[in-house]
């Protein structure tokens, strides 16, 4: 039993035990032949050198990027000629059939490129392509993902998620998480963790509208680039971070609706007349999570006291039974944790 002690190992073993008992129990995966075997055949690159992207593929850069244990990322989108993204509802863009998106992950060298493509029936194909060491080819990863493809720190693995995990996170709205009005806004949040400074030329909302890729966007969002309404700059950045990292699961609908915890950001109430749901459902609200040995009931966010806030506790651990988000990282996002803690301590009035 000694070898089983570290918790990650134990969980992996448990997962194995389950998997080996029902090898074909996974939810129906897309027929593999619908996914090209090589990244080169997804239409991303202009030629076989796998360096320059095709002319109908556009790079973009979300202002609140997802933290993946420090991996650096590049992203691209392709929308078929003659069709466009329907942006009538600024918080729920609808992507046309044939839309393709890519996200490349690198740690010194390219590790994997995640890919999604919208099918004619409205569903998405999602999979990852794993790069060879020399960067000469990237091949379709198995449906279950690839454990320990590289290391993000000595002894800490970098894993390629399985296809069922893609669907768990990509479950909000139409399933695209980083290409929307807020993420492409020209008015960047200077405090957003891990973001690049400024929008690269030709990659903001207005540019995608001008190109005809995005249609139906309410005019006021062009006149006044969207930003999260918040009382302080730190709060704005905190809400943006929670939106990307937590909001796709913690929302008003879907399997977790019963928790009554909503962490997505809202653009509709742009002048901030109503407190955001991410505050209403957290500040002073009792958490349903009761860690072993802590009988008393904690608030999700205790204003003024990050050390008493479950939300902070769940972000600050990588115990696989407790960590938030529950998948996708092995390391605590220290910069973000600092932002959230400071926001709770300095910007939220303690309840008397």
């Amino acid at each position: 039993m000694k070898a089983c002690r570290p918790s990650l190992r134990g969980l992996a073993l448990a997962a194995l035990a389950l998997a080996s008992c029902a090898p074909d129990a996974a939810p129906p995966a897309p027929a593999p032949d619908e996914l090209p075997a090589h990244l080169a055949d997804t239409g991303l690159y202009a030629d076989a050198t796998l360096r320059d992207v095709a002319p109908d593929v556009w790079p973009y850069d979300p202002q609140y990027p997802l933290w993946t244990d420090g991996a650096t990322k590049r992203r691209w989108i392709h929308v078929p000629a003659g069709s466009a993204i329907d942006a009538t509802d600024p918080e729920a863009w609808v992507f046309p059939a044939g839309t393709r998106l890519w996200k490349e992950f690198a740690l010194g060298r390219r590790l994997e490129t995640r890919y999604m493509e919208k099918r004619a029936d409205g569903s998405w194909l999602r999979a990852s392509y794993v790069w060879s060491d020399d960067g000469g080819d990237a091949v379709l990863a198995p449906a279950g993902g690839v454990a320990h493809l590289a290391e993000v720190a000595p002894g800490v693995p970098y894993d390629v998620p399985g296809r069922a995990d893609c669907a768990t996170c990509h479950s909000r709205g139409d399933g695209v998480l980083g290409f929307d009005a807020l993420q492409l806004s020209a008015e960047r949040d200077p405090l957003a963790p891990h973001a690049n400074a400024g929008v690269p030329a030709g990659q903001d909302l207005a540019a995608f509208v001008a190109r005809g890729l995005v249609r139906g966007l309410p005019a006021d969002l062009l006149a006044r680039p969207p930003r999260i309404p918040a009382r302080t700059p730190r709060e704005r950045a905190a809400l943006g971070y929670l939106d990307t990292h937590c909001g796709s699961c913690h929302r008003d609908d879907g399997p977790l609706a019963g928790l009554g915890l909503t962490l997505g950001a809202e653009l509709r109430d742009r002048d901030g007349d109503h407190p955001p749901r991410a505050l209403v459902t957290t500040v002073g609200r009792p958490s349903r999570f009761r860690p072993p040995g802590a009988p008393s009931c904690e608030a999700r966010i205790e204003p003024g006291a990050p050390e008493l806030s479950t939300l902070v506790e769940r972000m600050a651990t990588r115990d696989p039974l407790r960590q938030m988000p529950p998948l996708g990282t092995h390391l605590v996002d220290v910069d973000a944790l600092h932002l959230i803690e400071t926001w709770i301590r300095e910007d939220l009035e303690p309840t008397p």
Partner: protein, 189 residues
């Protein structure tokens, strides 16, 4: 490593056999299940032995049996388990509580969930969506940490949508029992 599950499953099987639950329910044949679904769900819940793990066992007049007063309410909150015994190297892998509601193995310690409709501590706040997602994906609430052994979700998750909905309808029709099951414990480290 499949031993862990096999071990616990066969244990569950032994218990199922021993419990001789009344097999009085008939499968309702049709695909319609407005009122019939609760009956269908009851049939499936009994036949699949959910109570073997989700109802705490006690010693009744006829020997060990599920404690009907706590039907499907999971590991009793007041039963604080001492540390699990440390097993010697060898093929024995899993320890189970006398209640059949707490299980220790290489994954740590898992406690069976409260499947009654209590809003705070059971599945009262779950939607059908949550229930299906959980049993299909093997993720807690359909989106969280992996669901731990010995919960046999890979098999249960292969039931049809209608059958899973029927089980959910049956569970929701049960008396709510307020019982806050402890969070699982990580492996000893």
């Amino acid at each position: 490593m499949s031993k862990s599950l096999i071990t616990s499953l066969s244990l569950a099987a032994v218990l199922v056999a021993a419990s001789s639950l009344p097999a009085c329910e008939k499968a309702s044949a049709g695909a319609t299940f407005a009122p019939a679904s609760v009956e269908r769900g009851r049939y499936l819940t009994v036949a699949l032995g959910c109570a073997d793990c989700h109802t705490p066992w006690h010693v009744g007049p006829n020997g060990p049996e599920p404690d009907a007063s706590r039907g499907l309410s999971g590991h009793p909150a007041e039963l604080v388990m001492p540390p699990a015994p440390e097993l010697p190297e060898g093929p024995w892998l899993v320890s189970a509580a006398a209640t059949n509601t707490a299980w220790a193995g290489p994954w740590g310690v898992s406690f069976t969930s409260n499947l009654t409709p209590d809003v705070e501590t059971g599945i009262g706040s779950w939607s059908e969506d949550t229930f299906l997602a959980s049993l299909r994906t093997g993720k807690h609430l359909g989106m969280g940490r992996p669901i731990l052994p010995p919960m046999p979700w890979p098999g249960i998750g292969r039931l049809t949508d209608d059958d899973l909905r029927a089980i959910f309808a049956y569970l929701k029709s049960q008396p709510a029992v307020s019982n806050r099951v402890p969070e699982p414990l990580p492996p000893r480290g």
